[in-house]
């Protein structure tokens, strides 16, 4: 059964500096973006890049060529540091229409200034 793990102080997390924690045998990247904390498995399913070094971006879409681009900050994606593929931080699905690879996403919470991961 997954358990909550206390991994860091919230104030120590910065968007620039990746945090990597090991829980059991699993390396997990912890990222903060727009005051929210995200945790993902620290290995990209495409070619093994360390996802802790990925960047979080809002989802961008456009209904048709030339139409304004819609930027959705409520649906962030993490993009891999190596080939820049994107993975939905809600579902772990690749943001391109392919079934695999997916990215394992861990639930997080912040309580009393501490960051917890369910893993």
């Amino acid at each position: 059964m997954p358990e909550w793990h206390d991994v860091a102080a919230f104030e120590d997390l910065t968007p620039e500096k990746p945090l990597v924690v090991t829980i059991g045998n699993t390396s997990i990247g912890v990222k903060v973006w727009r005051d929210k904390v995200f945790a993902v498995v620290n290995r990209c399913g495409h070619a093994g890049a360390p996802m802790a070094y990925g960047e979080i971006h809002p989802t961008m879409s456009s209904p048709s060529p030339g139409a304004p681009v819609e930027v959705d900050y409520d649906k962030p994606e993490i993009r891999c540091p190596w080939h820049h593929w994107g993975f939905d931080l809600g579902t772990g699905a690749c943001t391109a229409p392919i079934r695999r690879p997916r990215l394992r996403i861990y639930e997080t919470r912040v309580e009393d200034g501490r960051v917890y991961i369910l893993a």
Binding site: H57, M60, S61, S62, P63, S64, P65, G66, A67, V69, E70, R79, C80, H83, H84, W85, G86, C94, T95, A96, P97, I98
Partner: protein, 375 residues
Amino acid sequence: MSGSSQPGFIVDCDIHQPDPLNEEFAEYLPEPYKTEIATFGPRKLFSGHRFEDGGMRWDLRGEINGKVMDEPGFFIENLLDRYDHRFGLLTGNVGTISGIPDPDYAAAIAAGLNDRTMDVWLPVDDRFGMSILVPLQDPQAAVREIRRLGEHPRVKAVSMFATANRIPFGDRYYWPIYAECEKLGLPIHMHPSTTAVIANHAHTPAGEAATYFESHCTLPTYYMAQTASMILRGVFEQFPSLKIILVEGGISWLPHLLWRMDAEYKGLKHEVPFLKRLPSQYVKDNIRLTTQPIEDPADVRHLQQIMEMVDAENTVMYASDFPHWDFDEPSHIESKLGSGMMQKLLHDNACEYLGLDCDSHPVFTGTEPRVLADA
């Protein structure tokens, strides 16, 4: 008219009827072009290469059974009847207007040649259809020409020249043409032309090719660039029913482009946020390729693998390129690819894509070489 009541089998997507001689050509033109063509002939824009002896098959020189290459009867005897064609798409002389800078001249010449093909070629045999020339130099004029002729039942495509334009085909400059073609269900017939160097300032992405050989071998680079341009600028999102036929640009380049576009889409999709699908999906839905000149690797299995990679059974159609020097007869295609996909590749795919009236459905029974000596 074709004498047989049975439809033939071969559907041929690329047949080059020659331009008329100057005096006849002039009859189809308004002034001032009528006088210009009668006096000086068409304007020339060539690549500075010696074309392979005029680009024609040597066995078609001179008279054959009392006919010469300028007449429809010559094409009927030596192509349609000889190979049992059901349909042949006349695509004309591809260099006559492509790349010519003057849009008014190009529009007049395109219309004149279209009218002449309708007058002189179509009535002679039901099996002929045509791709109309349009002046890409002026998309609004091109749209007018498509509206003028596009609903004619024997017009089956609109010609665009893959190698002779300063603006790539994904650009919105061309979108009025695509809108009209989509509306009428007319595919774009995308063929190389002889004017690449002047139109693009170079024959290849690397610069000028010294010889026809060097330029002809690198034609696929244009097709890669045009395909990427159309897909990645959202042409098929904007015009989801638009049909494109890539003619004479080869096939083996396609797997690389599909793989690379699909791979890079995953990392660069923010640059094309209007695309909803993997780039390769648009190829399946909106693009077909033609066989000629079929690639000729030393080990034919390599070609067959590539055909499998591009789902050739559903995406490739036959073209002879008659009467040009690098003509492929149907049996040559069967000898390379095996008979399994010939029903679709020599007949069904093009029947459907060109919107032919194919109520009767002949079944593939095999091809055989039919060279002139066997006449």
